[in-house]
Symmetry: C2
Subunit: 332 residues, 2 copies
DNA sequence: CTGAAAGCGCTTACAG
DNA sequence: CTGAAAGCGCTTACAG
């Protein structure tokens, strides 16, 4: 393994001290223009780059951000990661990916790992089972900013970036109300998930307050397959054009669409459908599915910019809510 | 920022030397059982964990793998990353994600970054424009194993893990031949992509060798939207049940399905469709789309195990080909 | 069985 | 404007 160029090597070749070379490279005002030029030229030539481990040992700045998510097979998190990666490149940070598998024990281990690696900051969507948030707060006090996103804890005083679940649910409900609909079938995710706990009551509230006569049936599905089964069951007493399906997530949407296709129904003629989604799955169908957007990409941008402020020393905690927008397809 | 526990702290509390503590912690045979016990207990108590930067500075082992892909909005790469992440956890490695945006310049920069970070190894799917592979080989000689996957260079002597494109194309062609079909519309990706250059000729060869009377039309689409347009055009002189669409990728499949839905056609009654895919998109439709599987997950497992062998000292290069299997849906 | 010492490659107060 | 020196936290030959 060829040795990488070091400060020492440059210093020797130029008959300077290591300190001077180090300073020249960081454009320290003490160093003469001439020396700087010499040093930089040689550094360029031999492709010098500081050993990040040595730098970190001194400065405690790893230039690495961790992104922790419950699952990697999720379109929303992908856009988030993609978005963060984009910004990180620009600022010279790397992104380390961790998956908690929705297991608080693994999550805790990951946190420990992040601490030992002295990452510069953590972006995390917590598991639906996470109860204790002390470990997260502890990291914050140790100088590792923690930005919660999407799945965030209830605790007030921490940095949270979330989609406006209530707003998204409201947009979807209002869109449904524009149609003359008697029956709404709402498919929601796991009861334990914080997003379910916001989206379900808000959706019901908006819908039923505006029109108490609507026959609203809600179910909880923990997988696409389950959502498909439940939709099929609901469709057993189907009446043409009298029925709207609402899906609170891509996962439930995938299941519902499978059931609708299985029954040979067409949207929007035979049945209406609307979802809350990041947008990938809605665009696979024709007509495209109308959805209230929760954009992982936008959330990533917001989270990253909040992170940079924390790194720069902003100490107060802040909750940032990304408003949702309605993207019209032709499915309703 | 609270100070992390160090060897020094343990040594002081126990009135031992740092060397002894270090050895005790790694179960060195020289150290007495009694001392080991004392040290380990205290280490446990104060949650000692070695500073990875200090360790790396000495040992040059970062325990980090880099994964470099052209794009992060790609289901295949997600499964690959997910698969690698799973194994990495077990072995105590972290995964750093890089996206080249299919730009060889960015790719080169990433490579440089990996070298400076002294990552333990690199998994990379190169860009379709990558011409020079010397930089990759150089890393290998510097002791950083490089495992190419999916998009691999033509150069012989390097570690490559790929799906068997020829095999997948063959499986799809054979499946089409089972039906009595006159007309096949094949949608392929960018001409520059290595996978296109294998899948297209093989598919044509198998199909036409078996049945020269088949009217095979092939097109290249660089996006879903383009694939949709091209499919719509092909469908303009559509005759019921006389037509099979073959899509070489998820991207083209998404476009083709959009066109088929737009025309109000049903699979397989009105039109047959078959693809090469990782499996996510085919399963969104009913009937599910028949596809020759190229599994990012399986590829990840193979790549990781090859990586561990390289780390362990295996120096010869090896090309591993993952065979494809046909997953039957009902779309053909 | 244990310890003193050198060194990994850098940064930065201190001195001149 | 430049340099000698200490130190970040660890590992490991060397000595006893």
């Amino acid at each position: 393994m060829r040795q990488n160029p070091t400060l020492k090597k440059i210093a020797e070749k130029l008959s300077l001290s290591i300190s001077t070379v180090s300073r020249a490279l960081k454009d320290h005002p003490d160093i003469s223009a001439e020396t700087k030029k010499k040093v930089n030229e040689l550094a360029e030539l031999i492709e010098y780059d500081p050993n990040p481990y040595a730098v970190n040992l001194r400065t405690h700045n790893s230039k690495e951000f961790a992104v922790v998510v419950p699952s990697l097979s999720n379109f929303f998190y992908h856009s988030f990661i993609s978005s963060i990666e984009e910004d990180a490149r620009i600022y010279g940070y790397s992104i380390i990916i961790y998956r908690s598998s929705n297991d608080p024990k693994i999550e805790l281990e990951i946190l420990k790992n992040c601490r030992h690696k002295r990452v510069s900051g953590i972006f995390i969507a917590i598991t639906s089972e996470t109860k204790e948030i002390e470990p997260f707060l502890k990291l914050d006090t140790q100088g590792i900013p923690v930005i919660f996103f999407d799945k965030v804890p209830a605790y007030e005083s921490c940095n949270k970036i979330c989609v406006n679940d209530a707003h998204a649910a409201t947009l979807a409900a209002l869109e449904i109300l524009k149609k003359d609909v008697k029956r709404v079938f709402g498919i929601f995710g796991d009861k334990n998930m914080s997003i379910t706990q916001v989206r379900l009551p808000k959706f019901s509230e908006v819908l039923l307050n505006a029109n108490p006569d609507i026959n609203l049936e809600t179910v909880h599905a923990t997988s696409s397959d389950e959502a498909e089964c439940m939709t099929l069951k609901a469709l057993s007493n189907y009446k043409k054009n009298d029925f709207v399906v609402f899906c609170m997530s891509d996962e439930t949407l995938a299941g519902a669409m499978k059931a609708i296709q299985r029954k040979g129904l067409k949207t929007p003629e035979d049945i209406g459908i609307i979802a809350i989604s990041d947008g990938m799955i809605p665009k696979l169908f024709y007509p495209e599915i109308t959805y209230a957007e929760t954009s992982g990409f936008k959330l990533g941008k917001l989270a990253f910019s909040r992170m940079m402020k924390c790194i720069a020393g902003s100490s107060f905690a802040q909750t940032i809510i990304d408003q949702s927008i309605l993207v019209k397809g032709g499915s309703l």
